[in-house]
Subunit: 241 residues, 2 copies
């Protein structure tokens, strides 16, 4: 059961049962592994950056820096996530990645994807599923930044992160280790760190979420889900029927 | 050259030259066509909605309705766009579609996608490219709502729409027909119609964008692109190298 340390395989298996051929192809696809220390850029906001990565271990985030110097974090990435499939398939990447912890990534080329889809077409639908899921996450962030209040937005994001981690076998569903700094979290949620601090204190006081010493805990996850209107549906964490 | 009235084929060809096999498969995929009048829902925000569509003619938009009754428009859709690949591949759709004009859609099943990728794997990479491009659009909207001012955001959106239309052979690049109402546009941009009205007047007065009587015109598109920081890169409109 080697794939239990392969977060991508684990994620794709939530969509489709993978056979020996698919597992072998996923192993091949991830054979060029690179270790990168925390706090480093992966790839560039440049037309020449044609590389994409699969995050195998550790945390990263994707962001876009605007002309005025401000940045908008697009998403937080955890093991099993693609980094920059967009920059691989689109001619140019429109944003950057930075590692939040030490990570291991596997470098992927468009040729390797082509070859893999040819010999294991089952993976083509699974990859399209994963890309759709990534898009659904960005859609939720758009809704959050556009329409949700600060408390709701923060709790929603932390619930979503917990559900994503649980899918790849990290955390218990009710609690998880979370190495994100408050600066990164506040950029992700589109608020100042001072405001975020106040929001986290309020969430703790009303017993919805406790984020302290690198751990996120939901004392009553059902209540937190109701409070934020969190639906697991868009992450499709129900197993294949 | 039948594919010149097939917006999807035209769009995919920006990424990859398609042969007879691929064109035949795309035709098959789009054989179940349905006409829907303007102002109607397509699909539901429900777990049972497993259908996806390819928009062949006309305009639509996708939106999410929040519990407080407000709605966030996710994107405006034009011919060649997928509607609800997410709802097809994810167990449940997290948003709804509404037609903005009379449309023709082709209904697509996950089985048809599987079959197509098996016999024409070249299309698998092309579809993954198109999904990445869709995600890049949502990312830009996230950045817009989170970080861009009202003038910049509005002009950026109208430039982007023009570039997308030009890719499928509509409009001249500098101008295009735009059947979107101000109510829809204001919801898309996350502002009130009164605010949007003022913004559109300002954009017209400074000579950046004129949106009048269903036509969008850029008197000096270069200046408009500079003003908004619009980069064509993320739409990948450069032809294959």
């Amino acid at each position: 059961m080697e794939h239990f340390d392969d977060a991508l395989a684990r994620k794709l298996e939530a969509f489709e049962r993978l056979g020996d051929l698919e597992m072998e192809k996923l192993r091949e696809l991830q054979s060029k592994r690179v270790q990168i220390a925390g706090g480093n850029e992966i790839g560039y906001q440049a037309a020449s950056a044609r590389g994409a990565y699969i995050l195998r271990r550790g945390w990263a985030c994707s962001y876009k820096r605007l002309r005025d110097g401000s940045r908008q974090i697009i998403d937080i990435h955890i093991p099993g996530d693609f980094l920059g499939v967009r920059s691989l398939l689109l001619r140019s990447s429109n944003y950057s990645f930075i590692t939040l912890t030490d990570v291991e990534v596997a470098k992927v080329t468009v040729e390797a994807l082509r070859e893999m889809f040819q010999t294991a077409p089952k993976l083509a639908v699974a990859f399209l599923w994963a890309a759709s899921r990534d898009e659904a996450l960005v859609v939720e962030h758009l809704v959050s930044v556009g329409r949700r209040g600060a408390l709701e937005r923060t709790a929603h994001f932390l619930l979503e992160l917990g559900a994503r981690l649980h899918l790849i076998g990290c955390g218990t569903g009710d609690s998880y280790e979370c190495p994100i700094s408050q600066a990164v979290l506040s950029d992700t949620l589109g608020m100042t760190t001072i405001h975020l601090n106040r929001v986290l204190r309020q969430l703790r006081e009303i017993g919805l979420v406790v984020f302290r010493e690198g751990m996120v805990k939901f004392p009553d996850i059902q209540r937190a889900a109701e409070f934020t209107g969190f639906e697991l549906g868009y992450l499709d964490h129900s197993r294949r029927s």
